[in-house]
Symmetry: C2
Subunit: 159 residues, 2 copies
Amino acid sequence: MTLNGKRAIQDDYADDYAWCYGCGRLNEAGLQLRTVWEGEQTVTIYTPRKEHTAIPGFVYGGLIASIIDCHGTGSAALALHRKNGHEPGDGVEPPRFVTASLHVDFIKPTPQDIPLKAVGTVEEIHPKKWKVHTELYAGEECCVKGEVVAALMPKTMMK
Amino acid sequence: MTLNGKRAIQDDYADDYAWCYGCGRLNEAGLQLRTVWEGEQTVTIYTPRKEHTAIPGFVYGGLIASIIDCHGTGSAALALHRKNGHEPGDGVEPPRFVTASLHVDFIKPTPQDIPLKAVGTVEEIHPKKWKVHTELYAGEECCVKGEVVAALMPKTMMK
């Protein structure tokens, strides 16, 4: 499976770390978000389910926060992986990030029944800490802006 | 149904606005979060489902963001309702807030298989805009701090 013809970083996470409710490919009850490069930016596309509503007609903010969260960790993983000389699909396990902080500004209500596209710009603020600036679009309209500080998964979270 | 012996603000939302994936009592696929007063603070309690995982053993950040989000709007509704002279269950429809911004700091990984308790402090920053500071506890441990700016639902979101 590809997104915009590209392999997603989540497709290459180690099996043990592929259970995230937001972006784990092995979590069948989850959102299975997937993040790819688009030029120098990163992209995640997701169409909310019918139940992901806030007020009828508009998408639930917690779902949008989830998209921005996993788009952030996925984008940071893409970026550090590339810095290390690797791309999704080249057989090397990518780094796995977790979220240190998440900020979401809901600029306007996000309409339902349309795919949402998160577009991210990645900034290295420390070798183990990356900041991802995200704009979330419904069609042509930017409805939400978000920022994630993603940190390399600490050893205490590993098995 | 009560929480800590108290009626939740979400129990009194108008039917049209009770479909939120996070806190709508009519959304059967959702989380059905419920928020009550505890002294001068507000409380929401939720036990994550098995699938709400980040890395196995730890709760998914997007789910935590969702709890903080709906706890924020619910707390703001409780506070403005009280300011207007009302309490849940007195037969008066409470105000309905939406999220203007959401900030979440993940201080330490949140363990799974334990109820999470969000404790909020509400601050009026404008008659139509309230800030809710939230600490999220797993047992005795504060794992997450969050802040929501909640705004009265604009007329453009109403039916």
